[in-house]
């Protein structure tokens, strides 16, 4: 029998119909919905008199627009409020489950789905959000779509899809102390570039990936899109199964046994062919910090801002100059000399319990530097917040001078009140350092939670390994 990759196995088992040109009608097991990319899709259903094909296959949550303070007062921004209320109205009308504001399960859609066991191995999962690849950590084909496809999947439980090519990123060896899943993915993006994965589904494999917890694996898959790949995924192993055991929407009883047997087959066959393989030595990865306006503009903490003058590719040199100009950085600046104004710990990349634990460990018994105007900790969901509070992490953060907030996307994309002012510089655990992402004119440096916490304490970047 031919050897198959994990991606091939899941893809092939979801084909409803193949077209002559190679595209397929792909069955979508589950859809996650949020307030920003769904209203026009529901409106489309209404206008055409259609109903969701299988309402129970959907789960909705408001996350992008929700405030992270004074939530009892509701949303003060009337436009944002209308959008969140529209989600609730649509979910009511079309009979879709929604975790509303104030529900302990509410949170960033990609934190909440796995937590609830909504995300399971072998599934196809979509969401009108590019970071849907996060769910690939569970050996699922999970990808982001636009609003038209949100509507298409609501109405038909399928999408027209062409199969991607297969890429394997093999991370072998042991990570050094203080080096995390975030550093792996930033280093990979630095290596293959933001378009390196375009057209591919990336399977992350190797001993360093197997050694990661589910949280770490989600961090890695979350940023597959930042390498250009819509899908990032990781094979099932005991870590996956242990995580799923007992989740509210996980199968139970006899079905659990049956599911586990099936899930264990969700690995790439030994001789499976990948169109492209990238090998990374885990031991050589250092803590990463971005210096520019694209996640590929990244270096290690011991490094310095690169010099466009020594870049031979003129096109690249030009975009480097543009990035340095926007970031207000001079070439050759030592990374540890870069001073910060704000720090953001949270998002679907690094807003899970393990991330908060790592940041708290660094912050414990210390004080946020005087030069930091705001250091925010935003848990990824209500349940993450509750867990952190039960471990006393909230108090560690508050004592150190961080603000402890309610769950949501917050300053990852700054749709609510949490944002950078022009020229403010931020160490952020999120996933995008695009111009204006965290507020118009704001300057974002992507780092791991421990690195962000250490930067908050020091007022500039520091190597957590020297902590």
């Amino acid at each position: 029998m031919a050897a198959h990759t994990l991606y091939d196995k899941i893809f092939d088992s979801h084909v409803v119909r193949r077209e002559a040109d190679g595209s397929v009608l792909l069955y979508i097991d589950r859809q996650l919905l949020h307030e920003v990319t769904s209203p026009q899709a529901f409106e489309g259903l209404r206008l055409s008199g259609r109903k969701p094909w299988r309402g129970v296959a959907n789960l909705a949550v408001a996350d992008h627009n929700v405030p992270t303070t004074n939530i009892e007062q509701g949303i003060t921004d009337p436009i944002a409020r209308l959008q969140v209320e529209t989600l609730t109205r649509n979910c009511g009308e079309f009979e879709i489950t929604e975790y509303g504001m104030g529900d302990i399960r509410q949170g960033v859609v990609h934190v909440m789905g796995p937590e609830q066991g909504f995300t399971q191995p072998g599934m196809t999962i979509i969401c009108g959000d590019s970071h849907t690849a996060t769910h690939g950590a569970f050996a699922a084909i999970a990808y982001g779509v636009g609003t038209s496809e949100v509507e298409h999947a609501l109405a038909t439980q399928t999408l027209t899809q062409t199969k991607s090519k297969n890429m394997q990123i093999l991370v072998e060896g042991k990570l050094g102390r203080g080096v995390t899943a975030k550093d792996i993915i930033l280093a990979v993006i630095g290596e293959i570039g933001t378009a390196g994965g375009t057209g591919y589904a990336i399977e992350f494999a190797g001993s360093a990936i197997r050694d990661l917890s589910m949280e770490g694996r989600m961090t890695v898959c979350n940023m597959a899109i930042e390498a250009g790949a819509r899908v990032g995924l990781i094979a099932v192993d005991q870590t996956t199964i242990d995580y799923l055991d007992g989740r509210p929407s996980s199968p139970s009883g006899e079905q659990w046994q049956q599911a586990v047997i099936h899930w264990k087959s969700l690995v790439s066959d030994d001789n499976a062919n990948f169109d492209h393989v990238v090998k990374v030595d885990a031991g050589s990865i250092e803590p990463q910090v971005t210096w520019g306006t694209s996640p590929e503009m990244v270096t290690q903490i011991a490094g310095s801002v690169p010099d466009p003058e020594s870049e031979p590719d003129t096109q690249k040199a030009r975009s480097m100059r543009g990035a340095l100009d926007y970031m207000g950085l001079a070439a050759n600046t030592v990374m540890t000399d870069i001073e910060l104004d704000k720090v953001f710990i949270g998002s679907c990349t690094n807003g899970r319990i393990e991330d908060l634990r790592a940041a708290a460990e660094v912050a414990k018994g210390r004080q946020v530097s005087d030069r930091i105007k705001l250091a925010l900790v935003v848990p990824g969901s209500g349940l993450v917040k509750q867990q952190a509070e039960s471990e006393g992490l909230d108090q560690i953060f508050i004592d150190a001078g961080f603000e402890w907030r309610e769950p949501g996307c917050s300053m990852c994309l700054a749709m609510n009140a949490d944002r950078l002012s022009p020229q403010e510089r931020c160490a952020s655990t999120s996933n995008r350092n695009f111009e204006g992402r965290q507020g118009q004119g704001g300057r974002t440096h992507l780092v791991s939670p421990a690195m962000a916490a250490a930067a908050a304490i020091s007022g500039h970047f520091v190597d957590v390994r020297s902590w």
């Binding site: 069955y27 920003v36 026009q40 436009i79 590019s130 636009g146 399928t158 378009a195």
Partner: protein, 216 residues
Amino acid sequence: MKAFTQHTGLAAPIDRANVDTDALIPKQFLKSIERSGFGPFLFDEWRYLDQGEPGQDCTNRPLNPDFVLNQQRYAGTSVLVARDNFGCGSSREHAVWALDNYGIRVVIAPSFAEIFFNNCFKNGVLPITLEGDLVARLLTEIADNEGYQLQVDLSSQQVVLPNGESLPFDIEPTRKHNLLEGLDDIALTLRRQDEIRSYETAAAQRTPWLFNDLAH
């Protein structure tokens, strides 16, 4: 879905790689629950010197004179030419709605981010992939020649330059067909209802837990 057959229009150079969807339409405009009204906010942070707010009247906002689409010679642009990885970042279809509302019918680049590429077809905007050196040449020719128009014909898959030279481009046959006809994707898929149902019956046998109701 809106059809696309052919289009002739003024081209403008967006001479950058990695033009992301945050640049195409900044996040504050995503609060809208409408599908229209995004045109005045296309490239908002590059285009204006102040910060835009949703619903704002843009007629008196200070324009950034350095931004290419603000230059008089590019008024009425309907074809954008840009460098690699156009449309990367967020999945927001608002980026395409903004292009469409602004009047952009065609975007030409050496490569596109996949979600954006897909979103274009859903809105009758045609993304065309051409070799990097051809795009570089177009960028130069556009900048050097005021009033540079490109003619795009989908059925023959050609971009025709002002000197009459034709550049062929590739497109998946199904996408081409649906775009030429302006077909409604959902209606097309619903013709396959029976196949979807028989898939579900078989899948529910194989993996019954996927068809459980969720815990509420």
